[in-house]
Symmetry: C2
Subunit: 461 residues, 2 copies
Amino acid sequence: MKNTASSDSPSSNSHSPEALQELEHQFLEAERRDPASPYYHGSAPQAVPTRRRFMLGAMAAIGTAGVSGMAAAATPGAIERTVPPDATKIQGVGVGADDGGYGSRSQFETEVRTRYPTKTTESSWSFTPLQNSMGMLTPSGLHYERHHGGIATIDPSKHMVYVHGMVKQAKKFSMADLKRFPALSRMMFLECSGNGLTEWAKPTLKTVQGTHGLTSTSEWVGVPLSTVLNEVGLKPGAKWLLAEGGDAAVMTRSIPIEKAMKDCLLAYGQNGEAIRPEQGYPLRLFVPGYEGNMSVKWLRRLEVSDMPFMTREETSKYTDLMPDGTALQFSFFMEAKSVITYPSGEMLLHKPGFYEISGLAWSGRGAVKRVEVSVDGGKSWRDATLHGPVLPICHTRFTLPWEWDGKEAILQSRCTDETGYVQPTIKDLVDERGLLSVYHLNGIQSWKVAASGEVSNVHHY
Amino acid sequence: MKNTASSDSPSSNSHSPEALQELEHQFLEAERRDPASPYYHGSAPQAVPTRRRFMLGAMAAIGTAGVSGMAAAATPGAIERTVPPDATKIQGVGVGADDGGYGSRSQFETEVRTRYPTKTTESSWSFTPLQNSMGMLTPSGLHYERHHGGIATIDPSKHMVYVHGMVKQAKKFSMADLKRFPALSRMMFLECSGNGLTEWAKPTLKTVQGTHGLTSTSEWVGVPLSTVLNEVGLKPGAKWLLAEGGDAAVMTRSIPIEKAMKDCLLAYGQNGEAIRPEQGYPLRLFVPGYEGNMSVKWLRRLEVSDMPFMTREETSKYTDLMPDGTALQFSFFMEAKSVITYPSGEMLLHKPGFYEISGLAWSGRGAVKRVEVSVDGGKSWRDATLHGPVLPICHTRFTLPWEWDGKEAILQSRCTDETGYVQPTIKDLVDERGLLSVYHLNGIQSWKVAASGEVSNVHHY
């Protein structure tokens, strides 16, 4: 079948020079430099242009003291506070005095999700700033986004999920009903199959946020989908399950019933609280290890069938067009992948000496077993340290100490998962799949460290 | 030595009827009911009184489209969005359209940290809403707080940590210096030794937020303290380390050098981003398994010595006064503890039938090995399921299915850690330590389920 590009498809002509310039501008803007951090180039602009600013104004409610003393913050997600010359000489901010009992990040922390320059913001995506990632978790406020019709706003007290089709007893479930079932929690990554879509033919985006920022890890909490399917009872011959979202795109995907019964969750929790609106509040399907779009957000309907539903999102989109014009369909798994997040594109190493190479590895097939790192463009490899807990279908932090001699170096990482699968080179993937398809790029990323210390995105085999 | 109460000490006379009434009022206010949730009593007030409201106004910057369409949110940490009757019939909110690239929670999620009614807000504490906890993590915005002089606001680009005393070479480190060292990440709980301080003699606070909300779990990231101490070099005879905060209280604690070299972190990361201002931004000491106040926030100085420093916080405070008038000093460890978070105080079980009992267990000595649950006030116990990963010095979620017969029941949980230590009853603790001391209450919590389904805090042996 043919991969017909939709308006926001990366295989369309949105890659105009103007669009790419705007994209790069957005990235550079967002990567406002922190002078205290070795992660950033000192010559970058110190202020985020006004049009990107957003005020989460620290405006206290009427009747609360101190309103006049508080200014609106220029940093998304932060409350602006006065910075005293010496914080030991003045009382600090009182408990709950300006945050209403729900905290926010520091006004000095400025990294944000950056949006890909699609024609509309409603069908678009945003990238997690992996260059600043630490440990295995992604803050919920920086989890990547991919919406097909914008973020739906849903009142949880009115939300229902309908389960019907080839079932013994069709039922609907309120959020309260779902929360009565036994819950499971799992730390798992979610990755968009479009992660890296610009990087097939040549290095395009400059930072790891752009090349790899469509993956994030959260602790997901919910009801096993099998619990709910057992509750309605599957009829003999049930083979597929349609998941339908309650957003403007009415996002739909077909999921094999074996997977549905194995490890899927009806997730209402993320990192210890309700899932965020942009992650499908109040309920999303979570399909571990499969491409992100199958984890349907704002879930409102599940329909059991004996065949796949051949929805728009599994025919014209989210298929992989091969060189011979046929398309791979139902390419579910996100295969083993890794990337060095520090040092990475657009960073500057100020001088030769010690650096800790740090990165993330993951696999939709299970746990990461091994990550090797090369500093000479793949001539030699060393095993990196994996930082536990090493969990299946979850980001795993790896590190390797490195003494930089001040000469040009090519940094690469290569992940092996518990099935024995080894992350391929981008060339291996292109040789196999050609350049007509944009999804499922899990090739080895190369960062060039120039003698000047500047780090840039390159292809190197 | 004598335990001299300071103005905000719970052993002072702040437990007046008025103070307790105000406290309860605060709790009831904060526990605004979600009609979709089985966790809450339906008869509770539906609105948070205005004086507790706080607007994180979704005010877009000048020049951005859509300003007029956005209203300020009444829910802390949320952006107020229009709720369409049917979200499939209208475009949703675009990527980054109103959040500046850093997401927020849903406007329908209203639980907040509640403040204990100390005389000042600067020396006070706030509780994590454990009644809504899921999985093992605490959202950073709901992590409990305990400040002695308010939240310090510190510019990270100017922040320095001085390390001196019995060292071979005194040094100062900027945040950039610290981030150059190899990093470690660990999921760990932090608990205030005052957790449960109102509950020694009789059940006082009504909800698990009040009885146990001074414990939270995050993924903490930072430099091993041993790395920095090795960098300066310890002189022979070095036995203790003073940690000093850069807040208005200039919080200070002495830490045995063995502990400092074993597993302490200079933490700059929490849940994948910079630590929050109220957790010590830009840097806190993290002392795993020890009482929370030792994990000094806004860390600015470390001094090595051959003896403890006998600071205010380890003489007049944070000691445990025994019945004979002497005080236990340096009672560092937070011993094994557990609590059932669902069902818990102030909840209502609408009818007999299936409930999943769910709770958290933890130990400062290592991993949780076993949690037993009783539904008959300790006459019989069943082993609960521990939800992995079970990590040392970390909240562990436990669950047990329960068929409620509609009769009165007393729910309890009992934790055993990897050292074999078994969580005692409150009576055991009182028999041993008396009632002059308020810290380190790790006794078994009892929740009474009345025949009406109402759940309340009781003491039961």
